[in-house]
């Protein structure tokens, strides 16, 4: 989707928290002239089937994302550092259900 539609309305990313959820999940994006309209549009477009109880909207330009080409240097090193995981503790039997 383009960053601006033909009327010059910016693009907004929509995050919705459902009744059973604890976190806002990305639901999609839409164009709107301002924040109030973005929230109403999100309500109209993304909560028709009662998916949500809370809406966050953020202009897409304010979301900064990591670049795919850099993922090997960003994420791979963590894969083989087993000492960072708390797996070497022995729990006494009394705490079995922890």
């Amino acid at each position: 989707m383009s960053a601006q539609n033909q009327s010059g309305w910016p693009l907004w990313e929509v995050f919705i928290r459902s009744k059973q959820g604890l976190d806002h999940k990305h639901a999609g994006s839409l164009h709107a002239a301002d924040a109030a309209m973005a929230i109403e549009n999100a309500r109209d477009v993304y909560t028709r089937r009662m998916e949500g109880v809370s809406i966050w909207v953020v202009e897409s330009k304010y979301i900064h994302a990591s670049i795919a080409e850099e993922s090997s240097s960003l994420y791979d090193p963590a894969n083989d550092k087993v000492y960072r995981h708390p797996t070497f503790y022995e729990l006494p039997d009394e705490l079995k259900n922890m």
Binding site: S7, W9, A36, E40, N41, R43, D44
Partner: protein, 260 residues
């Protein structure tokens, strides 16, 4: 088939308002100026048709309890009455025009419908109170959505402002009908089932002025052209309703009892 009780007339007035405006709004489906607004106006149309169903079902129940031989249904009321039996106000049957006219029509109507449902929540008739309470949540959103659009278009570009001025010139004259009580409204007010609509005028005007002021739109003068009769509410409609009904009722009348 028009010797209905006064309470049924009130129910039909409430149902017809919602059905006709719902139908008008649905004419935008697939033709909205922007995708999200196409969905928004279609949602509003669905809300309104849903409200009308509640009132029609209750009206059919009441009609059948008084005249069981009629075997009336919600479809019978929606699809088989002629224009002179419809009790919607004239505002809701007006053509959609451009987006500004549709927005203004919605704002003027939802402002009224909000106050009406709010008052009817105290009706002595439990069913009317319940339907009003449920519908009020939808209407609260319709009023908020349309108010914000009136402000954006009024206080927008020169073109959007002009279009809003044209919309006001077209629609203002119909707003007087909201506050003129018909015989059936006065009759149901006596037993606290309904209300006298003239009591809503002050708050309606207050909300209107606050939104118009923020929208930099002029508030029409007291002596602006205005309906002085409860025309649509008593079955005297503009030609627009005939066109609506011929489209809306065609299928049921051509294939009575037809189902999906």
């Amino acid at each position: 088939m028009s010797s209905y009780s006064q309470a049924v007339s009130l129910l039909l007035h409430l149902a017809d308002n919602a059905l006709i405006l719902g139908h008008r709004n649905s004419e935008w489906t697939g033709h909205g100026p922007v995708l999200e607004q196409d969905i928004a106006i279609s949602n509003i149309a669905l809300d309104l048709v849903g409200q009308s169903r509640n009132f029609y079902q209750y009206a059919a129940e009441k009609i059948n309890s008084e005249n069981p031989e009629y075997k009336m249904t919600e479809d019978g009321l929606a699809y088989f009455r002629d224009a002179w039996d419809f009790k919607n106000c004239l505002l809701v049957e007006q053509t959609n025009g451009d987006w500004a006219k549709t927005i203004l029509r919605q704002f003027l109507f939802s402002n009224h419908q909000y106050l009406l449902y709010d008052a009817l929540m105290s009706s002595k008739d439990e069913q009317i109170a319940a339907i009003s309470e449920k519908s009020l949540k939808e209407t609260t959103y319709h009023l908020r959505w349309s108010s914000e659009w009136v402000i954006r278009l009024g206080d927008g570009t020169e073109e959007s402002h002009d279009r809003m001025l044209n919309a006001i010139a077209d629609l203002w004259k119909f707003t007087g009908e909201f506050f003129i009580a018909t015989n059936y409204e006065l009759a149901v007010k006596k037993n606290a089932i309904g209300i006298d609509p003239s009591a809503l005028k002050a708050r309606w005007q207050e909300k209107l002025e606050s939104v118009f002021t923020e929208a930099t739109l002029p508030i029409p003068a007291q002596d602006a052209p205005m309906l002085t009769k409860a025309s649509g509410k008593t079955g005297a409609h503009t030609e627009a309703l005939g066109f609506i009904l011929s489209e809306m009722q065609f299928l049921q009348r051509a294939y009575p009892g037809g189902m999906w």
